[in-house]
Symmetry: C2
């Protein structure tokens, strides 16, 4: 089972402290949001004093980047597991996995999909994980039957126009071999789910009496119709 750890004791200790710092950071983010994250407070709560943490993280941004990376990885794991467990690739399952994941820790969702930190630019490996998530959604959408010219009459002109456009610019998602309708559907999936989720998590539905879960459900149904 446990392979011999080739890391030196110092490296193991270092990794453990880094993990502990991140744990406290998540705790702090969950209660006060990402903008209120304080390295000093984390250090104090760990029994260390201020600048000690700078041995483990170059600066606040690096810690946040690490948290974002972990968040993306967590979400990627969840959707991958969902795709693997369920009956192959199912967009609805993807949607529910996403919603459950988001509601489990709203701040974590908002950290990666919410308002970005002003000067922040995601490193390449993070965007790679993000597009892996997108690829999973794309797989699911490609598996859906393409009932393109079936619906009402003809699809609205802007919709087909966008599909032609996206056909010419399919540089994203590693040139996933899916028909343009699936590409468009995946994008719509992403933006619509995010629309409901982000407004719900940001509290913009409080005051309105309806249940966001039902709205989410209705959107998923409309998307997989």
């Amino acid at each position: 089972m446990a392979e011999t750890d080739t890391r030196t004791p110092r490296e193991r200790y270092r990794a453990q402290v880094r993990a502990e710092v991140k744990e406290h950071a998540w705790e702090q983010i969950a209660t006060a949001g990402a903008s209120a994250l304080s390295l000093n407070a984390i250090a104090k709560r760990m029994g260390l004093s201020g600048p000690a943490l700078y041995r483990y993280f170059a600066n606040r941004d690096e810690l946040i980047t690490e948290l974002i990376r972990d968040a993306y990885r967590s979400l990627a794991d969840v959707v991958r597991a969902t795709a693997a467990a369920g009956s192959g690739a199912d967009p609805a399952a993807f949607a529910h996995a996403l919603r459950d994941w988001a509601l489990a820790d709203p701040h974590r969702y908002l950290l990666i999909y919410g308002t970005p930190v002003p000067g922040y630019h995601a490193p390449d490996d993070v965007t790679a994980i993000a597009s892996e998530i997108m690829a999973t959604l794309l797989d699911a959408c490609a598996a859906l039957p393409d009932d393109r010219p079936a619906p009402p009459a003809a699809p609205a002109a802007p919709v087909t126009r966008f599909e032609e456009h996206i056909e010419r610019h399919r540089g994203w998602a590693a040139d996933h071999p899916a028909p343009p309708a699936a590409l468009r559907r995946a994008l719509a999936f992403w933006t619509r789910l995010h629309g409901v989720l982000s407004l719900e998590l940001a509290g913009h539905f409080t005051g309105m009496r309806f249940d966001p879960a039902l709205l989410f459900e209705a959107e998923v149904a409309d998307l997989t119709r």
Copy 2:
């Protein structure tokens, strides 16, 4: 034209300084985001020194609240003007007005619809303006022909389930007299437009090569279909 200003000179001066502070605040937000807003920096740029601004704003939160209020008011004015100018109430016109407004100053859009400040709670008058915006959208959606049981076959079950749900909980939007299908459509409008807009403004489409404007257009077309 100009009515005699009944305010005292002190009040007028006070209002002018407050306006100037907000102007500098918007400038700062536009370049560095809301989280980087610094009262100190604003004071310095105005030739004042630090605590002077506390005569005008009790604290940073009050300034931000004021900015949010102004942002909401600006958006409400725009959509109201659009509804008045256009051929009555048109959801597509609403959508384009919203997008234009958002792209004109992304940070302003994200300030009101993005990740909320942790401890912040919007005062009543702000939520009132927000629901005025929603009412405008609702008017536009109610004006749309309700082709409910016409589409494909029957609407997906969760969709009608949500409409029944929303019929029972129509406490929001000041009990707007619209059929549940219009309520649902307005909600979908809001969440879908926000989904595309917020991801675009947050930069989540960079790297993918497609034009967000066309995606937005396709969503609007799908919504008004």
